[in-house]
Amino acid sequence: MPNVKVLAKREEAQVRFTGGHSLCAGCAEPMVVRTVLNAIEEPVVVANATGCLEVATSRYPTTAWNVPWIHSAFENAAATIAGVEAAYKALRRAGKIQKRIRFVAFGGDGGTYDIGLQALSGALERGHDFLYICLNNEAYMNTGVQRSSATPKCASATTSPAGKAVPGKPQDRKDLTEIVAAHNVPYVAQASVSHLIDLAGKVERAMKYEGPKLINVLSTCPLGWRTRRDSAIPMAKLAVDTCYWPLYEVAEGVYKINYKPKEKLPIEEWLKPQGRFRHLFKSEEGKKLIAELQEAVDRNWQRLLRKEQCSQEG
């Protein structure tokens, strides 16, 4: 697993993603991007879906990208990188390219769970050799915190606000990691900005496989979650320690939970500091909903433990 020293050395040798971009103070995304790019040894080409990362890093005539980078549209990062990879295959076969080049796509949860799901599924099924990183901050943050299918149940978002009749988002979030696993790709994982060395290890393990890989990275948005600006790491850590966001991987169909908290914290600990859940703490109804959220977390965690057990037993 690449440790901090290795990552730092690689960044010293080549800064792949520079500073000077306009992502918000406290945003988790640049930490994820730098970790991912530094965890890959070979040259990389990046495709980026429309979203915070794209807008804040490519404002013409400036760029934060010191690696080849392409943004096309919102829903097509997977199809775009598939095209780049197809070109690479053809040109390598024709003897026009000798170097081994790796391919990475970045998309937010909106661009991945929602509008880009079809293109992603197509690229997974066709077996292109690329790594897709979902920067999951659980809503459409770039356009003003609208709900996505990654937004947790009961969270207040601008298109699922906490109102007098409806307490935030009525629906549960979609399980993208499992959807990707169902494509039988060689490697899929969940990671968190709070555990960057775990993330770097996952990137390194993923890149050992030919074919499509995806890592779904929980990426705190202090603005959208309505938490303190310096809370990106502790908030993501709470998501992991409550088992709301388990760190696990599925490599060639075998589940492995990378981190099992010694003490599983109650979900309130993660909910309470976030303004988007504040309404739940103000009423009896809210308390009931918190209990339901806890039940869902427990159920999912138990299911994951069983999946790990079953798949490891073969």
């Binding site: 199809a79 598939a82 095209g83 390219i97 080049i101």
Partner: protein
């Protein structure tokens, strides 16, 4: 050597001879056989192309954009709803100045859903920033696919080129086509030299950046500059191809018996063939009629159209699609080209052939007859039950 083949096969043959690095394609009637033929070529090992059998046209054009930016020669084909789904990315391909060549098997847009020919799909893509060429026959579709490659890839142009061929009428009917030998096509299209390719990892470039009001306007103007280079490049490539093929490609449009014409029709696509039959018949009877068949629709050759038509008394412009709430788009192109001319014909607009409605010799006769007395500026419908 002359062969008989469908328009599909003619397009697929041109693609096989060009042998692009990447073809990303999704099947749709009446384009599917192009995708099928090409998949067979790939699976038979006849071409080195990387085939990307995408899950939608949106992804087809997206993969084309990725592949072309990576540094590959890229082709695709679609029709109707497929173009409607990918249109977002066609605009992006043009803005990135990517020389993607696309065959468009013209088919009516929904709704109601219909699989037959009209030009509403091409009209939808009119302002996307791609070059548009219309073919009259399978032979022309073949020839234009090859010329399109050179026009698209010319360093002054670097834009997507759409080769329009009428769905079913051209795609599915068997016609006589004379393909060039493989090696001549290969020599003609030459090697593709990409600019700032993504795969040049030692010289990283940023493609598709975010441009705010301080730069967007200048970038779009620069795109227009690429479009302005097209006419000269078009003529240069056409001249070279004319010499190579011996076929009579000269100019942005075919002026058929137009020199002394008093009445003329302006048209795009396969119905030009029908109109030529009628022109010949009427000429035999001593009537001075002619035809202007548009090859290059975007960019639109305004000055040349004026020169070719200014002596004509009456012109019927035939549009195979509605531009709801206004006259047909081709009619507006032609008439606006004449806006500052003192000597100009009386123009009449006909909408014809929507959703595959047949346009026969009788219909074209009707147009020439009505032209004598029609009120200039009138919008008429040809072959419609009203």
């Amino acid at each position: 050597m002359k062969k008989t083949m469908t328009g599909h096969k003619a397009v697929a043959e041109a693609m096989r001879q060009i042998e692009p690095d990447v073809v990303a394609v999704y099947p749709i009637t009446p384009q599917s056989e192009i995708a099928e033929y090409y998949a067979q070529y790939v699976h038979d090992g006849l071409v080195h192309t990387e085939l990307v059998p995408v899950e939608s046209e949106h992804s087809a054009m997206s993969a084309c954009v990725g592949a072309a930016a990576a540094g590959a020669r890229v082709m695709t084909a679609t029709a109707s709803q497929g173009l409607a789904l990918m249109i977002e990315v066609v605009y992006i391909a043009a803005s990135m100045r990517l020389p993607i060549v696309m065959a468009l098997a013209n088919r009516a847009l929904s709704g109601p859903i219909n699989i037959h020919c009209d030009h509403s799909d091409a009209y939808l893509a009119r302002d996307a920033g791609a070059v548009h060429i219309f073919a009259e026959s399978a032979q022309e579709a073949y020839d234009w696919m090859i010329m399109a490659q050179r026009i698209a890839e010319h360093e002054k142009v670097r834009l997507p080129v759409v080769v329009n061929l009428d769905g079913f009428t051209l795609t599915h009917s068997v016609q006589v086509v004379e393909p060039l030998p493989d090696e001549e096509v290969k020599r003609f299209v030459g090697e593709f030299k990409p600019l700032y390719p993504l795969l040049d990892v030692d010289n990283p470039s940023t493609w598709g950046p975010f441009a705010m009001p301080d730069y967007y306007f200048e970038l779009k103007r620069a795109q227009q500059a690429g479009m302005e280079e097209v006419p000269a490049v078009f003529l240069e490539v056409q001249e070279e191809y004319r010499k190579l093929s011996g076929r009579p490609y000269r100019g942005f449009f075919e002026a058929y018996k137009l020199d002394d014409a008093e009445r003329a029709i302006v048209i795009m696509g396969s119905t030009a063939g029908t109109a030529k039959v009628v022109v010949d018949e009427l000429r035999k009877q001593g009537e001075k009629v002619g035809l202007l068949k548009v090859w290059l629709w975007r960019p639109f050759p305004r000055e040349e159209v004026v020169k070719a038509l200014s002596h004509v008394d009456r012109v019927a412009v035939l549009d195979r699609a509605l531009s709801f709430g206004n006259m047909g788009a081709l009619y507006l192109d032609i008439t606006s080209a004449f806006v500052h001319q003192d000597r100009r014909p009386g123009f009449v607009n006909y909408i014809y052939g929507l959703g595959g409605r047949d346009t026969t010799v009788d219909h074209i006769h009707q147009v020439f007859e009505e032209l004598e007395s029609a009120r200039p500026g009138e919008l008429r419908y040809l072959g419609l039950r009203e």
